[in-house]
């Protein structure tokens, strides 16, 4: 049986992206044919401005080379315009007579520049700004001519004007609006932008209407006459007064259009065999002109074309960045505000910084930034997530405060960084290398940048910075998904929250069961999703779901930390950092017996034996177990240590017995697995020698009881723990901190530390669960204790006959 045929009209970013998404989820389903009116393969239209500015070449912006079409078995017709769609016979006919039959048709005809209906708009030298041909024509004009007029002070117009100026032309921008970019900026930011562009040599005529384009002796345009009579010379006129969805073809075939091809939430037109995506589409009355929404549409259309029928496109909130080198502006959402909104404004005209945040009902709904856009992506994420900002309102305008992130020399502003500056301190990746990869390989997402450059793929502390670089390189094309909708990994479209919810509601207890119910795209997942699923299953159904060792990272299978040379490190638990001469003697004996090359005291108040061969692990554990010691879980996404100071037992300042309290907490939490590692500390007085302020749960003894702090972090992101509450007794310390940890265990995303969890949900939320709801708190605490009731020492269980096999290599005699 032959395959169904899919025909795509429009070889541009939206259409080809849909085909790519389709091939990803259902390769070989269709025979695919693509028609493109331009003579080029699919290229990155967003980067035409850098090409015009001389910062890139056409070759560099090609997204899919001709080889790609060949490899995928796609029939490509370039330079052919479709003349009509014959929906009765299900075929399309090109202007040269080429015909193709379809079973499904995808229309992605994009948009056309709006040419002002004024006399002279068809003269030579008058162009729109849309494709490679227009760009070439502008470059050519800049070589031969002097004066350029750009009509329209929007994003495209300003990028065109900037490029022409850089190519040596004298450029005037004629703009009807009261300030530049009035669809993206408020007046203050618009004026600041104008000032910077004037400093670069551009000229502006605002609130000015163009009346006539005047022909010169050569036949080419020579001047522009404005309303009021003023006349300015112009050898080149670029019309950038907006775009119009290009739907004439669809409309002529009888498909319902209304300022665009009307589609439903599955990107289907009124003809069920015909889908449409991109700028030609009218979705819920909106036609999008930025690329990010188009990609979201592409994903949905591909899913329905594949016959899976999952996913709806419900519209997009967009953000904007102007791709003019040296100018930093960012705007998103409802940046003007209205009667029912409040504004937080920071205005430093002299320093060239302006920020405005628009808030409605305690939620960020829009914002404009000029001069300092470092926090643009963060604000945009808050906006998309609809996070209640009440608890961070007082510092919101100052940004996310990236100063706590380490490993990139305190750099937090992408635009100001030199190309040679190191962004990722783990993998030694510079800003220049990232920008290069984004441009050369056509990357659009953080994940793609991680894969290709390795930046942000280790500790992740520079992820925010990489996102900024991405945003400033590709402008409005960069749109992160709302956090709660981000897929867990490439194996699924479901988010962490969705997966957790389904596991709970459907009582799923095994990985194959979960993957099949959630329609995983890969047969057995990957190294990202399997450990996450395994954790979600065992944390949701502690006594029912069985642990899958093959879905755990090696450290949690070998109960030891793998080192760079493949050996392991062994850390026996020292409750609360306390030990005894007998334990120390046993550790010393083990170190000698197994020839441990390095013995080190850790930051968590215990002893690390480094360089142990894997096959020695079980015997070494047996020796340590015999001396009464158990695993320190120094390797796991689990309880690590409870650090303590000496406290009231010995210290002359101590107010509480911090060592005793610490041991109690550590015993309670023994063998607790969690989304990420968990560290606690107990200090006996406010001098806080145990450094409780940078722990997931910090307990500080005061004369009248204990203060509890949560969500601190001393590693990747130095984050001071936030005050949760004050309690009186040891039992309350256990109940409150246990309840918080159980909340985190039930709601945290895999590999999310408590500080990131807290940032996501907000302290108010945690207080509402733990402080304001006594019954709820007790229930969390009970569930924690219940799931820990069958805690076992993994060192003991891993020595059982079946488990021990993985530690022993199989010797094979080979004749040399």
């Amino acid at each position: 049986m032959s395959k169904p045929r899919l025909v795509l009209i429009g070889n541009g970013m939206a259409g080809v992206r849909t085909v790519e998404e389709l091939l990803k989820i259902k390769p070989d389903h269709y025979d695919i044919t693509i028609f493109g009116a331009e003579p080029h393969p699919n290229y990155n239209r967003i980067l035409l401005s850098p090409v015009l500015a001389g910062e890139m070449t056409i070759q560099e912006i090609v997204l899919n080379e001709l080889d790609w079409y060949r490899e995928k078995g796609i029939k490509l017709h370039t330079g052919k315009q479709i003349a009509r769609i014959d929906r009765v016979n299900r075929k399309v006919v090109a202007d040269d007579g080429t015909e193709e039959y379809y079973d499904r048709l995808l229309i992605a005809t994009g948009s056309t520049p709006f040419m002002l209906p004024i006399p002279g708009n068809d003269l030579p030298g008058v162009i729109g700004y849309r494709d490679i041909k227009d760009t070439d024509e502008m470059i050519e004009a800049a070589r031969l001519h002097k004066h350029a007029v750009v009509i329209g002070g929007g994003l495209l117009g300003l990028e065109a004007a900037n490029g022409l100026k850089l190519r040596g032309m004298d450029v005037t921008v004629v703009h009807l609006g009261p300030w530049l970019l009035e669809r993206q900026l408020d007046e203050v930011a618009g004026r600041m932008l104008q000032k910077s562009l004037e400093d670069k040599g551009l000229k502006f005529l605002l609130e000015t209407q163009t009346e006539v384009l005047i022909q010169g002796e050569s036949g080419r345009v020579a001047a522009v006459r404005l309303k009021g009579g003023m006349q300015i010379p112009a050898d080149l006129v670029v019309m950038a007064a907006g775009i119009r969805p290009n739907y004439a073809l669809a409309e002529a075939s009888g498909i319902y259009c209304n300022r665009g091809i009307v589609v439903n939430d599955t990107m289907q037109t009124y003809d069920p065999k015909v889908y449409a995506v991109g700028e030609c589409v009218s979705h819920r009355g909106i036609a999008y002109g930025l690329v990010a929404p188009l990609f979201e549409q592409a994903k949905v259309a591909a899913n329905h074309l594949a016959g899976y029928g999952i996913g709806r496109y419900t519209g997009s909130v967009t953000s904007t960045k102007l791709k003019v080198t040296g100018i930093d502006l960012f705007s998103a959402g409802d940046y003007m505000g209205g009667k029912d909104t409040e504004e937080i404004v920071l205005n430093d005209p002299h320093g060239g910084v302006y920020k405005k945040l628009v808030i409605r009902d305690n939620k960020l709904v829009g914002g404009v930034m000029y001069g300092d856009t470092a926090d643009g992506p963060w604000y945009f994420q808050l906006l998309k997530d609809g996070r209640d900002i009440h608890d961070i309102r007082d510092s919101l305008i100052f940004g996310q405060s990236l100063v706590g992130d380490v490993g990139h020399a305190g750099n937090s502003k992408a635009a100001a960084m030199a190309d040679s500056a190191e962004v990722c301190g783990c993998n030694g990746v510079s800003k220049g290398a990232i920008v290069q990869a984004i441009k050369a390989r056509g990357l659009f997402t953080l994940d793609e940048v991680k894969k290709h450059t390795k930046a942000a793929s280790s500790c992740g502390s520079c992820a925010g910075l990489v996102e900024q670089i991405l945003a400033s390189t590709i402008g409005g094309a960069y749109t992160p998904a709302a956090s709660d909708k981000k897929p867990l990994c490439a194996c699924t479209d479901h988010s962490h929250d969705q997966v957790r919810k389904v596991i709970r509601e459907q009582r799923l207890t095994s990985i194959p069961q979960a993957m099949s119910f959630l329609e995983w795209k890969t047969p057995n997942g990957c190294d990202k999703c399997r450990p996450a699923l395994n954790y979600y299953l065992i944390s949701t159904w502690p006594h029912e779901a069985s642990d899958d060792p093959q879905s755990r990272f090696i450290n949690e299978r070998a109960h030891a930390n793998i080192q760079k040379d493949g050996t392991y490190s062994v850390v026996p638990r020292m409750w609360g950092g306390l030990t005894t001469p007998a334990e120390l003697r046993a550790i010393a004996d083990a170190a000698e017996k197994y020839k441990v090359p390095t013995v080190k005291v850790t930051g968590g108040q215990r002893i690390d034996l480094l360089g142990v061969r894997k096959e020695d692990l079980p015997a070494m554990w047996a020796d340590l177990n015999a001396a009464g010691m158990v695993s320190g879980h120094a390797y796991g996404k689990s309880i690590r240590t409870v650090k303590t100071c000496v406290g009231a037992e010995h210290c002359r300042f101590g107010t509480q017995k911090s060592m005793t309290m610490g041991v109690k907490l550590e015993k309670m939490l023994f063998d607790m697995y969690s989304p990420h590692k968990v560290k606690l500390a107990v200090s006996g007085c406010p001098r806080n020698c145990a450094e409780a302020g940078i722990k997931d749960v910090g307990v500080i003894g005061v004369d009248s009881g204990y203060e509890l702090y949560i969500g601190g972090n001393g590693g990747i992101k130095t984050e001071v723990a936030q005050f949760l509450c004050k309690v009186k007794t040891d039992e309350e310390v256990m109940e409150y901190s246990g309840a918080f940890l159980q909340l985190y265990r039930e709601e945290g995303w895999y590999l999310e530390r408590t500080c990131h969890y807290l940032e996501r949900v907000g302290l108010d939320y945690v207080k509402s669960k733990i402080l304001e709801d006594e019954e709820g708190r007790k229930a969390y605490y009970f569930r924690l204790l219940d799931s820990l009731k069958d805690a076992r020492d993994p060192w003991a269980t891993s020595r059982e006959p079946q488990a021990i096999k993985q530690f022993i290599p199989i010797a094979v005699a080979v004749d040399a």
Binding site: C526, Q550, I562, I810, V812
Partner: protein
């Protein structure tokens, strides 16, 4: 000439797991078992920085190196794009439930 040697019963390798084979001549070999009970054998050394692939998470016909997360194809020993590199592979098969390796 390759020489088929018995290694272990198939059930001694967990599904989506691996075992290390240590030839008397040196150079550890990792033997992997997929969910569909196919077996693969690779030099136990990631082309990136020499990490022990036998300790990685196995998924589909790939293993993820435990050190820095490179993905290596089990059937060809090649790194998955965009990473580039490869490690030696060995012939391996299952005979009556016994894993046989050509060394």
């Amino acid at each position: 000439m390759s020489n088929w040697k018995p290694v272990c019963p198939l059930e001694d390798i967990p599904q989506l797991g691996s075992r290390i084979v240590r030839p008397s001549t040196g150079g550890d070999i990792a033997i992997f078992r997929s969910a569909a009970d196919e077996v693969f054998a690779l030099h136990d050394k990631c082309p990136h920085k020499g990490g022990p692939l036998s300790q990685g998470i196995v998924h589909g016909k790939r293993v993820t190196c435990p050190l820095h997360g490179w993905n290596i194809g089990l059937d060809d020993g090649q790194a998955v794009a965009p990473d580039v590199g490869g490690c030696r592979k060995f012939a391996v098969r299952v005979d009556n439930g016994m894993v046989m390796l050509a060394v």
